[in-house]
Amino acid sequence: MTTLAQGVEGNSPILNISIFGAFVVITLIVVFRASRNTKTAADYYAAGRSFTGPQNGVAISGDYLSAASFLGIAGAIALNGYDGFLYSIGFLVAWLVALLLVAELLRNTGKYTMGDVLAFRMKQRPVRAAAATSTLVVSFFYLLAQMAGAGGLVALLLGITGAGGQAVVIAAVGIIMIVYVLVGGMKGTTWVQIIKAALLITGALAMTIWVLAQFGFNLSALLGGAVETGAANGGEALLNPGKAYGATETSKLDFISLALALVLGTAGLPHILMRFYTVPTAKEARRSVVWAIWLIGIFYLFTLVLGYGAGALVGPDAIKAAPGGANSAAPLLAQALGGPVLLGFIAAVAFATILAVVAGLTITASASFAHDIYANIIKKGQVDDKNAEVRVARITAVVIGAVAIVGGIVANGQNIAFLVALAFAVAASANLPTILYSLFWKRFNTSGALWSIYGGLAVCVLLIVFSPAVSGKASAMFPDADFAWFPLANPGIVSIPVAFVLGWLGTVIGGKADEKKYAEMEVRALTGAGAEKAVVH
């Protein structure tokens, strides 16, 4: 590989596109094969519940290790050193919430969506509408983050710098993604995640070993290299906490707020929750989380090496100057190590990552619309034709895909790690309190659920709108306007506790809980009696 790479100078867009094209062709073949067995709603939404725990665990890590995790964290570590590392710790520890409190109980009580669990013992229509609303909002923020990253990547990898050319590529990525979802449903999407996760983790492992080898497998020497190359960018400060967030009391508070959203958001992400329905039993759901925790944890250890490696071997100045800024640290490191071939591989993997994560989000959002809103609210649970629900889901997927393409073109250039952090904040505020209350609190009732979902969602979104991330700062979304009055860029420290309090208050004010329904839910959640079974083909 090295000898081949040395023969070619610089970046080769054609090589990058060829490697990515090969990935698309292979995954499309897999998706078409997987689609043969996709007939019922359980097939389309939950892959017939036929994946094993380890398979689903790999797919979860594929879903979770998004472009923000890979490109964003590596870039944050390269530029901000230690403070970038804190992201990955929050993202990992968060999985314990999913493992201990949510995954198995959710698998036992739900069918396809988060709304199934939240509405289990409540009035169906209002709670499902609320669950679907927050699912769509979280998925939208997350989608924007992924698609926004695609633009910078295109510029870096294909040499397309014009906004029009980038828009065409973003649209192409979106269309391929829609094909995955329409044809393959959850089964096809899961296989795309598995293939992508395997490529991503293997690629990151190879680069990690490569970087470490350059420093004699000595972590301290690697850190020293990053300090030396980054002398003008803080030098020693790269190793210590506080470079990005330590400036003022406000920025310190902002950091705590971010940390809370990261650790409490994961178990409220609808596209992650939906993955637990693709396995046959709660025990397999547990195994899948265990696999995911190991893979994700090991991957984040790789990004620590890759981030400091990029800082040492590429240097902060070159990273900042590259198109895509911080997000280009990992691809530039690949180029510095293995030349165009490794760059082409990593670039293709990064594209595949965006493609796969967007596909996972789209199927989640479309399932929530078709199952919660169409089948259970509009049709009141009486869909005459079983295929109608899946048909609605497919149409929704196309609409969401189109929205993602437009959003990606508009949001092109926004900081992707930040956008993902916002998605986590909404998930931690609107979803997690409601999920925990409905699983563990006997008295929780319909009004409590509505208060915590809508309250958490509204407070979180309002604080974001009036935060310095949206207006009033040069780095804001609208730098020319200034209507910011909330001092923090991350709303979690306010919106998460508020959502918990609102859920409690709504419950106390609201009517009596349905005790028989709670008995059914609790027994089913803890024992797995009556849980949805795998589809036998």
Binding site: T40, A41, Y82, F85, L86, I89, G90, L92, V93, W95, L96, L99, L100, L101, K111, F120, Q124, N218, L219, S220, A221, L223, G224, V227, L239, N240, P241, G242, K252, F255, I256, A259, V263, T281, R286, V290, W294, G297, Y300, N376, K380, G381, K386, E389, E515, K516, K517, A519, E520, E522, V523, R524, L526, T527, G528, A529, G530, A531, E532, K533
Partner: protein
């Protein structure tokens, strides 16, 4: 339940669920689950927040070098990884030994046998 497909599930007799819920075995299963997951959640959240607060408000302490360029902050950060892996492993062992057999038994008593 307003679901859209008919499926095999135990007779929808609401009183049966209430009976199981108040049975001694179910109360024991709930106790076992909660006495593990609640304290463990509190533990890892406190440990995580302690780490975050240290990084935020005690940067000098976190910047203390231990070995070459490796400082306290990096070691504590890596220990967050270790504790996450450890808690995961402990929970799986606990669930396999203490939760699954009891859940299986209760599931059978509801008239269902499923691996």
């Amino acid at each position: 339940m307003s679901t859209t497909e008919s499926q095999a599930r135990p007779p929808d007799n609401a009183d049966q669920w209430t009976e199981v819920q108040s049975s001694a075995e179910f109360v024991e299963l709930r106790r076992r689950l909660r006495t593990f997951v609640f304290p463990m959640t509190a533990l890892f959240l406190v440990w995580y927040l302690l780490y975050v607060l240290l990084a935020d408000y005690a940067p000098e302490f976190m910047s203390t070098k231990l070995l070459g360029n490796i400082n306290v902050g990096l070691v504590l950060g890596l220990l967050q990884f270790v504790s996450t892996f450890l808690i995961t492993t402990l929970y799986v062992r606990y669930a396999n030994r203490k939760l699954d057999p009891l859940a299986q038994k209760l599931r059978e008593s509801v008239g269902e046998d499923q691996g």
